[in-house]
């Protein structure tokens, strides 16, 4: 990732030279050639400029600071502070930090459970909504999609009120049945977060799948009907294979989303003592940077998070591609 972005950052400048020399086949006349060759770059320019500023440069900054180390002399560095090349020591420090590694492990566990669960749930919901057997599909679609419009922070505030003892009506109801679930305990709070994420994103993912389902040609269903295929059979042999791209897309996004988890944990932390300040990788990087003031190690952590997201998505795409071919 880093190497590609590095070269690509400089690319636009180098590349417009050959573009101008070689006339494009489509263009007629030399006057035209220049304009046509320039056009894509002009069209791309605003996007590329901002992309450079907000993606490429920060990645380079992160890389530079992740390889920088500060050394201090005196009790507070009052006798001198110097920064220099650190090699991989920041990465080593990030990876030897038990809490940071634990947070990555926690997110893997979270992803392994929550992502498949949510994808199955939203697929089943989409199939049911599109099966034609449901009444008021428009209402349900809207109801399921509504939480997506509630920002993660606000969704977490909402759910935290439903989790906190003394405030939660859910606990009151559970109490009637003689149960006293602890939504915020050390073993349960991860799944309370999973619930918030599921609540927020199931409707959105469902809508992507519904969109893909709607694009399936009617003839396919008719052919299946002629063959006397059951609803289940239609689902497994026509619908599921054809919505595969949507499933892959939603899964990749969910994987990336899982590694990015931040707001839910940070907000819930105020009511759940079981959530420490390095509960998720992002929270860890944030704490390292802004509470511990260690921007260099935080940069190393950010790079590691990006690498993990990249690798996981890549592996997942490779895996699904191999399976389909």
């Amino acid at each position: 990732m880093t190497t590609t972005s590095h070269t690509a950052g400089a690319q636009p400048r180098q590349e417009d030279r050959p573009g101008q020399r070689t006339p494009t086949k489509a263009a007629r006349g030399t006057h035209r050639t220049g304009a046509t060759a320039r056009a894509p770059w002009i069209l791309l320019a605003p996007f590329l400029a901002l992309f450079l500023l907000t993606f490429i440069l920060p990645i380079i900054v992160a890389l530079i600071s992740s390889f920088t180390k500060v050394t201090r002399s005196g009790l507070f560095g009052e006798a001198g502070v110097t920064s220099g090349f650190a090699g991989f020591s920041n990465y080593a420090q990030a990876l030897s930090d038990g809490s940071f590694v634990a947070s990555i492990g926690r997110m893997l566990l979270f992803g392994v459970v929550q992502v498949p669960f949510m994808i199955v749930l939203c697929t089943v919901l989409a199939l049911m909504l599109e099966s034609g057997s449901a009444k008021w599909p428009g209402f349900f679609r809207a109801a399921y999609f509504l939480p997506y419009g509630v920002p993660g922070v606000i969704a977490t505030i909402l759910w935290s009120f439903l989790y906190v003892p003394g405030l939660s009506p859910l606990l009151d109801i559970a109490g009637v049945f003689g149960l006293s679930p602890d939504f915020l305990g050390p073993d349960t709070v991860l799944w309370s977060i999973a619930n918030i994420v599921t609540w927020s994103y199931t409707g959105y993912n469902m809508l992507i799948i519904v969109a893909q389902l709607k694009s399936i040609p009617v003839e396919l269903y008719e052919a299946a009907k002629v063959d006397g295929a059951s609803t289940l059979r239609v689902a497994t042999s026509i619908q599921l294979p054809l919505i595969r791209p949507a499933l892959v897309l939603t899964t990749v996004f969910s994987i990336i989303g899982t590694l990015q988890l931040f707001a839910e944990a940070q907000v819930l932390k105020t009511v759940a003592p079981a959530i420490d300040s390095q509960y998720t990788p992002n929270l860890s990087a944030y704490t390292t940077a802004f509470a511990y003031n260690d921007y260099n190690v935080a940069a190393a952590q950010a790079v590691l998070i990006a690498l993990a997201a990249f690798t996981l998505s890549f592996v997942f795409l490779k895996f699904t591609n191999r399976k389909s071919s």
Partner: protein
């Protein structure tokens, strides 16, 4: 061709600019304001000072000052409390080369801001002449490496808020020692009540107990930092709470002043809370609590240690990018030592204990109706603020150390004792020091 070279030039220019930015933003906070010349007083020009703090309605306090001092106008901006977001804002403002003149910073966080060159050494602006007005322990906690890095603003000498009715169920009086405390706690369990909570997720309370017992975790010496978290005082406190938790004498499911705590306290399920003097305002939030609470001295560790400890407390510190440190200092000392300043802070912001022993605040001399007419401030907290461990001092990675400690404490649920986790925490904290490029060694026993 002309076009081409122009674009190339532009490209090269952009490239250079980008490179300049990149090299410039390597690491913030490596140059010290305290090696630069002292900024002279404004000299007649009216100045405006900004103060970022999380105390509520502090602007009203500043307005009292503003009315009398047209030359120095103070503007208060509210920020979230400490690590709930306030410090993050301050650090980012510092990293961006800005920030307010004054900021509310907890005593324990002062060295962390010193480490990133975030604070002005006020001794260069004559802070020493005010030293005698402040509580000795608190003044000691703003002194680092020969400088003064903040003006104590409020504090929390510890005492014990208790419900006589709940204690009476087992015929107990407020315990004078921690031994008695454990015995009362055990008795109360037969009445389906807890005497108190022990917060596994917040190490500051344990730290205050260890301080009371006489611990002194970090010392600054000539050749660097010296750590000792495994001294007898700390280990005794850890052993004591290990047993209390194992025997189920303390509640660990929720912390003091959480929604669950308020519910339990209102129902008589919690007998007491050993906490800073600022707990009085919070205890008054227990529904139907009027007349049911009193205040007693904090239990003591037998014949060793001190009568009380400080829990919490903050300062007004001058930030590195301030243009008017002298004026900021002037305002901060007025606010924290003058009668009108202290009274205004109590009235508007409900501050904790006044850092000026001379004056604890007019309203605090009155008997309290909520606490059944007890004059608890004079009776309990004035002596408590005098019975402090004056050797205690904070260190540049306090917050991270607290997180390390509480991460360890959380493992108590799965069987790791507090004593064991303190031993491993000490090692981790030493690593943190070294990773920051600081020198540290374990104190020879």
């Amino acid at each position: 061709m002309a076009q081409l070279s122009r674009r190339q030039l532009l490209g090269a220019g952009l490239g250079t600019a980008a490179l300049g930015i990149l090299t410039g933003c390597a690491t913030p906070g490596v140059t010290s304001v305290n090696t630069k010349p002292v900024i002279p007083a404004a000299g007649g020009e009216p100045v405006t000072i900004t103060y970022w703090a999380w105390l509520k309605d502090l602007q009203n306090v500043a307005d009292v000052w503003n009315a009398a001092n047209p030359q120095i106008q103070v503007n208060v901006e509210w920020i979230p409390g400490g690590n709930a977001g306030g410090y993050q804002k301050l650090y980012s403002a510092l990293a961006a080369g800005g920030g307010p003149d004054l900021a509310q910073i907890e005593l324990r966080t002062i060295p962390e801001f010193v480490l990133v060159n975030g604070l002005v050494d006020l001794s260069r602006y004559g802070a020493e002449e005010y030293a005698s007005r402040y509580d000795k322990t608190l003044w000691g906690q703003v002194q680092y490496a020969g400088g003064t890095y903040g003006i104590p603003q409020d504090a929390g000498p510890m005492g014990m808020f208790y419900q006589p009715e709940v204690l009476a169920k087992v015929g107990a009086q407020p315990p004078a020692t921690w031994e008695e405390w454990a015995a009362v706690g055990k008795e109360l369990r037969t009445q389906d009540a807890y005497l108190d909570c022990f917060p596994l997720a917040d190490a500051s309370v344990f730290t205050a107990f260890a301080t009371q017992a006489g611990a002194n975790w970090l010392k600054a010496e000539e050749d660097g930092w010296v750590i000792n978290m495994t001294d007898d005082a700390t280990m005794d406190v850890a052993r004591f709470f290990d047993k209390a938790i194992t025997d189920d004498i303390v509640q660990t499911g929720y912390g003091a002043y959480s929604p669950g705590w308020f519910a339990a306290a209102a129902k008589g399920g919690i007998g007491s809370v050993t906490s800073g003097s600022w707990g009085d305002a919070l205890v008054q939030g227990v529904s139907g609590g009027e007349g049911k609470w009193r205040v007693a001295p904090m239990p003591i560790w037998g014949s060793t240690g001190y009568g009380s400890s400080y829990l919490g407390g903050s300062t007004a510190a001058v930030l590195a990018n301030s243009k008017h440190p002298r004026e900021a200092l002037e305002f901060a000392t007025w606010m924290t030592t003058s009668k009108e300043g202290i009274d205004a802070m109590i009235l508007n912001s409900g501050i904790g204990w006044s850092p000026a022993p001379e004056f604890i605040g007019t309203t605090r001399l009155e008997p309290s109706p909520f606490f059944s007419g007890q004059r608890y401030n004079e009776e309990i907290f004035v002596p408590a603020s005098a019975a402090q461990n004056q050797d205690w001092s904070w260190w540049p990675v306090t917050q991270q150390s607290f997180n390390i400690l509480s991460d360890g404490f959380r493992k108590k649920a799965s069987g790791t004792s507090l004593m064991d986790s303190i031993v491993t925490s000490e090692q981790q904290i030493m690593t943190v020091f070294r990773n920051k490029g600081l020198t540290i060694r374990k104190e020879a026993s």
